[in-house]
């Protein structure tokens, strides 16, 4: 089924569950809500099972999508029908409260909605902006001479924001400079943004104390652990020392005047040589530093180590091959 129909099905599901008298069971949803594949009389037992399984998968996905946009389905168990679970949406609880915002404030929000280059954070921010815009009057665009962009983002951030709201513990694989790679089980309290970096602050269950985790060092999928509502974040959280990468290597890099600000910020100045300001840059990830030098497009040059300089040259030469040839660069 094409994805465009999923929006239509979800809309019909929202309308049905908002108007339901009491509740709707899965069977009622499947039989009556437009977009689901109802049971058919002529099916063999096998076909019927296959269709039912497909409906169950689709309904679970739809429940997850509704949760993602802020409409949690309430489950209602009806005593007279045994353990048959029904669903309902509290339309009042789910609806967007009135929001009072000037056209200038909305224009600033439009800039903020484009801040995250990360796909997960970006789509969430843009969706929030559409929601805020819905009830606002149409207005002429306000020119702001303002822009914002963040290159660091994490797919983990939306998952963690939901877990914080749910009061649900999470488990993930984490690499720390101090204690290496391992599994962590954490009660998430808050996300912290400093500069371009994202951190999670929470209670580490195994260590029994509050810790911070840099999101870019969480590997793979974040898994929910246990029930929702098992803990509450303290109201006032003291933001602890934020754990950063511990760089172990030093690169000597030349930068042209007033360029490479991100590099300058974490480097120590060595000397000025002609049109180049020379810095010692601590680093731990050769590929990341190579890409940073490349992105400065000639405003940076690697003096040491030679391996890094060679990698920069190799990438530039490969790019030149692709740029020069209509067809291909590889091979």
């Amino acid at each position: 089924m094409p994805a465009s129909d999923a929006a239509e099905r979800l809309l019909n599901l929202i309308i049905a569950l908002s108007h339901a008298r009491g509740r709707m069971t899965r069977a009622e949803i499947r039989a009556t809500v437009s977009g689901y594949d109802p049971e058919r009389g002529g099916d063999t037992a096998d076909e019927a099972r296959r269709r039912t399984a497909a409906f169950e998968r689709m309904f679970e996905r739809d429940k997850e999508d509704l949760r993602r946009i802020g409409i949690p389905l309430r489950t209602v168990v009806d005593a007279t029908h045994g353990d048959d679970i029904g669903y309902v949406i509290d339309a009042g609880e789910a609806s967007m409260p009135p929001i009072d915002m000037t056209p200038v404030e909305r224009a600033i929000l439009a800039v903020a909605a484009e801040y995250w280059q990360n796909a997960a954070l970006g789509t969430d921010a843009r969706r929030a902006f559409v929601k805020i815009s819905s009830s606002m009057p149409r207005a002429e665009e306000v020119p702001l001479h303002l822009a914002a962009r963040s290159t660091e983002g994490s797919d983990a951030a939306p998952t963690l924001a939901q877990a914080i709201a749910d009061g649900q513990a999470v488990a993930f694989t984490y690499t720390s400079a101090a204690s290496g790679r391992g599994e962590r089980v954490v009660e998430p309290w808050r996300l912290v943004v400093r500069g371009g970096r994202l951190y999670l602050l929470g209670q580490d269950r195994d260590r029994g104390e509050a810790r911070t985790y840099r999101l870019s060092r969480i590997e793979g999928v974040i898994r929910p652990v246990g029930e929702r509502g098992t803990f509450e974040a303290p109201d006032e959280v003291e933001v602890l020392a934020l754990e950063d990468e511990v760089p172990t290597l030093i690169a000597r890099i030349g930068l042209r005047a007033e360029s490479g600000h991100a590099l300058r910020r974490r480097a120590s100045f060595v000397s000025t040589a002609g049109e180049w300001d020379v810095f010692d840059v601590p680093f731990s990830d050769t590929e990341a530093l190579r890409d940073e030098v490349l992105s400065l497009a000639g405003a940076a040059r690697v003096l040491e180590p030679e391996g890094l300089a060679a990698a920069v040259r190799a990438h530039a030469e490969a790019a030149l091959a692709v740029a020069g040839a209509e067809g291909g660069g590889r091979g």
Partner: protein, 314 residues
């Protein structure tokens, strides 16, 4: 917006963003009365065709039974004139911000405020957002570099009145200089505030860190240098690019906004809108050994130019 697996499989717009817009259109029409498809397209930042398709979808949605009185309803005559006039909403309303949505937008806004680039009104916007969120705000933003009070205001006034601004600036080597700049735009990059400007002392375009500006005062001197067309980044995609890359280089394109990736044998073909060529060129350089082809020619030229510059410097 991504497809996985099958060759040539292109997935249409994802359900969740579309659903959010569908709810938004109904809420907007309920609160502000009829609107033309063009007006809705501008307000929601999509094409007029997309709005028309949305109205068509809304028109055949409603309560189980889906009879005449169960459906959302629009005025058919108005529809033919390109006007959305809602006559029955079936109680459909926009939904409140989900925790992840609130976090993403409030985090971005707070980062802009902390970086010193956001005008006064940003504080009001953040307060209005906080009031609309029922869960506790899940994000704390810590300013990375404090900006001297008055600096951003003087720069903003200079931008608006097209006047030069006199600065005291301390560079990374702790050299204090006086310079006159023509400010064009304030930008937040990775949580730090900058001003994009023409620096008269350097005789060239510069991007200066706000936290390194000790003092800024407006002059009566009119700005003469035009904002550099390529300066910083514009947020509207200017054109579409198509890149063929070996699977090992796939990561560089996965998180570009609006990117559609299709798998073709051992390669991945990525198509995406290019808003800021500098960002795209940096990504292309990072995966250069895995690239098979880059289109259009203008992007290839920029890539070639950047590669030449890198080799020249190196």
């Amino acid at each position: 917006m991504r497809s996985r697996g099958r060759k040539g499989a292109v997935v249409a717009e994802m359900a969740v963003p579309r659903l959010t817009r569908l709810l938004g259109i109904v809420t907007h029409l309920e609160e502000h009365g009829e609107a033309t498809f063009d007006e809705l397209a501008r307000h929601f930042g999509v094409a007029t065709e997309t709005i028309k398709r949305d109205i068509d979808t809304l028109w055949c949605s409603g309560l189980p039974g889906y009879g005449m009185t169960d459906l959302l309803d629009f005025d058919g005559f108005a529809y033919d004139e390109g006007i959305a006039r809602l006559t029955n909403s079936q109680g459909v309303r926009q939904v409140r911000l989900a925790p992840a949505e609130a976090m993403a937008l409030m985090g971005a806004l707070a980062a802009m405020i902390a970086s010193g680039t956001a005008p006064e009104a940003a504080t009001g916007a953040l307060a209005a957002l906080s009031a609309a969120v029922t869960d506790a705000n899940p994000v704390t933003v810590i300013g990375a570099a404090p900006v001297t009070p008055g600096v951003a205001e003087a720069l903003r006034a200079g931008i608006e009145r097209k006047r030069a601004v006199a600065l005291t600036y301390v560079d990374a080597q702790d050299r204090r200089t006086s310079r006159v700049i023509e400010p064009h735009r304030l930008v937040t990059v990775d949580g730090l505030g900058y001003v994009e400007c023409f620096c008269r002392r350097a005789g060239d375009y510069r991007t200066l860190r706000l936290d390194r500006i000790e003092a800024a005062g407006e002059t009566d001197d009119a700005a003469t240098a035009l904002p550099r067309a390529a300066s910083g980044f514009t947020l509207e995609p200017a054109y579409n690019a198509k890149v063929r890359v070996a699977r090992a280089g796939r990561w560089a394109f996965e998180d570009l906004p609006g990117a559609v990736l299709t798998v073709d044998g051992d390669d991945v073909v990525a198509t995406f809108g290019v808003a800021n060529p500098d960002v795209v060129v940096a990504r292309l350089l990072a995966v250069a050994p895995f690239l098979a082809s880059v289109e259009p020619a203008s992007l290839r030229e920029r890539l070639g130019g950047a590669a030449m510059a890198v080799l020249g410097a190196q």
